[in-house]
């Protein structure tokens, strides 16, 4: 018996003696578990808000959902980046309804209260009717309790006692660095155009799926066919499931990544036939710049590895066929919303940018050759979970007991997520 009959009430059960790791499927269907996740994970962890490049000018703004809260991610008049709770201090209505834009003020359509882009109260119609002692100074939009960034990736925490972001990110910082190093100036930007789609599945399934290389051959055989038809060598490495032997890594604090020698091409900077012959010289030039700036070894690290990085709990940066920043959050146990962007170096030429976006769409996104099949797999899993009482345990033991480093096709890195999840949800009072 590899899965326990009961986990003594626990939802994540690790048994290193018998080499089993089981997750109770209740975690995917229970309203109580979701409520516990909101309170114990999303109210405490650092949650992704947005990227500095999305706010180019003073008074630029983007409206976001962050840990279930409506948030205005904006640059104030002086140029400082802010994250303000999008709720009027008077009676609660959203004070910014647009997806994005540039505004000198945020204005509540209900009674006309207005706010500056630094959040301070600007005006109240008929303010002479308020009682003595009514303090307008204190009636600004409420900022998120904590807002910090690492290399332009902004995160909020709703726990004012959270550790600083750099500490929280732990080993994930090194993998963000590998992304940022693709830009000669160290400046990446979110590219215009967002993919927002729902998956009728639990949000944690997308954490697993984003870093799970075990599924690639079965779920994505049509994508592999496309690569092969385009002249890319997809022959599995000897004794391995995929063309290259990659690893799954624990980055501390619940963060994890895959780390795979590239075979599928990289805009920075590994040519594959899909890019076309005419792109070869350009990719060579990008590579040359990398080597000159970073040295041979670091350039190879940046340009020749693919890394699917998960920052606990709900941010994924996939640095593979292209770079995608993917954020997702639960709206119900069996329903998540996904928001995904493309990221690229600010210096890219028109041709390089077009190539990056073309490469993105071969695999990623709701119209890509791969993501729709991931969505199908996750939704089928969610449908199967309806029988969670009869089939209570999911198995994540793959690779346990191996004397080798955990492969990306093992589940060692998925267990990293679940241990952290369990620590926060099950062990916290």
């Amino acid at each position: 018996m590899t899965a326990p009959h009961n986990g003594n009430g626990r939802l994540v059960v690790e048994d290193n003696e018998n080499l089993s790791f089981s997750v109770n499927r209740k975690v995917f269907v229970s309203d109580d578990v979701l409520e516990a996740e909101h309170r114990k994970i999303f109210d405490h962890c650092w949650i992704y808000v947005g990227h500095a490049s999305e706010l180019k000018q003073p008074n630029d703004f983007r409206t976001r959902n962050v840990a279930g809260r409506p948030v205005i991610f904006c640059r104030d008049r002086q140029g400082a980046v802010r994250a303000l709770i999008n709720s009027c201090r008077h009676r609660g209505a959203l004070v910014c309804r647009e997806r994005e834009g540039n505004a000198r003020q945020f204005y509540c359509i209900y009674h006309g209260w207005s706010y500056n882009t630094d959040g301070s109260l600007k005006g109240i119609p008929g303010d002479d009717a308020y009682p003595p002692g009514f303090d307008k100074q204190s009636k600004g939009l409420v900022p998120v309790p904590r807002l910090e960034h690492y290399k332009d990736f902004y995160f909020a925490s709703f726990d004012k006692n959270a550790p600083d972001l750099a500490t929280y990110l732990a080993g994930a910082k090194d993998y963000i660095d590998l992304v940022v190093d693709q830009s000669p100036s160290g400046r990446m930007e979110i590219i215009s155009g967002v993919q927002e789609y729902d998956i009728k599945a639990n949000w944690k399934l997308l954490v697993e799926n984003s870093v799970d290389d075990y599924h690639l051959v079965t779920t994505h055989s049509t994508w592999l066919n496309y690569m092969r038809n385009s002249g890319v060598n997809i022959t599995p490495a000897k004794g391995h499931m995929l063309p290259t032997k990659g690893f799954g890594k624990d980055l501390g604090n619940g963060h994890l990544t895959t780390d795979n020698p590239n075979y599928r091409g990289r805009p920075v900077a590994k040519w594959i036939s899909v890019y076309g012959e005419e792109a070869k010289a350009d990719i060579d030039a990008i590579r040359k710049e990398l080597v000159e700036r970073l040295g041979e070894a670091r350039a190879a690290r940046v340009a020749d590895t693919n890394r699917n990085l998960c920052i606990f709990p709900n941010l994924v940066i996939n640095d593979g066929s292209s770079v995608t920043v993917r954020n997702f959050f639960p709206v119900a146990p069996g329903h998540m919303k996904v928001v995904a962007w493309a990221l690229g170096p600010v210096e890219e030429t028109e041709a390089q940018r077009a190539r990056r976006l073309h490469a993105f769409l071969t695999f990623y996104g709701p119209g890509g050759f791969a993501t729709p099949d991931d969505v199908a797999a996750l939704e089928l899993a969610q449908q199967g979970f309806a029988a969670y009482r009869e089939v209570p345990w999911s198995d994540l033991s793959r690779g346990m007991g191996s004397s080798q480093e955990q492969l990306a096709t093992d589940e060692g890195h998925l267990r990293v997520f679940w241990r952290k999840w369990s620590e926060l949800v099950e062990a916290r009072p």
Binding site: Q195, Y197, N229, P366
Partner: protein, 167 residues
Amino acid sequence: MNAPVAPGAVTRAEVEDFLYQEADLLDRWKLDDWLALLTDEASYYVPPNDKPDGDHRYTLFTVADDIVRLRERIIRLKDPNCHAEFPPSRTRRMISNVRITGMDGELILVEANFAIFRHRRNEPVREFVGRYRHKLKRTDDGLKIHERRAILDAEELGPMGSVSFLL
């Protein structure tokens, strides 16, 4: 760029017949027959919901296929391992408000509205509503699609989920 349509160059009835025919082929999953209605340089775009007028060279689209990738997409759609579309979705396309809006050189510019209902077992019906901007080309074999742009009205894909079949 857009020139008026020369008198007698093409009629709305002719364009409508063509659009109804290709919609019917897609609804019946006659994908190779549909492909035969495209030029050898055809492209197919689904812009992102937040940038419906974006350019795929600078903007992340939902779909931006040249003919090479479009042919590969159809290989994929016919493969039982295309899990998102196996078994194939049942779709029903309503094409309306067809207008010939001008010419771009020899290309006929056509706009139309669409409502596509997609049904799959164990799933709610998903509705894809928007407008087409087509560039059609008259060939010896009749009208062909040179460029297809399917612009969705929704603010986000949201409950549509994936765009795993052809819009």
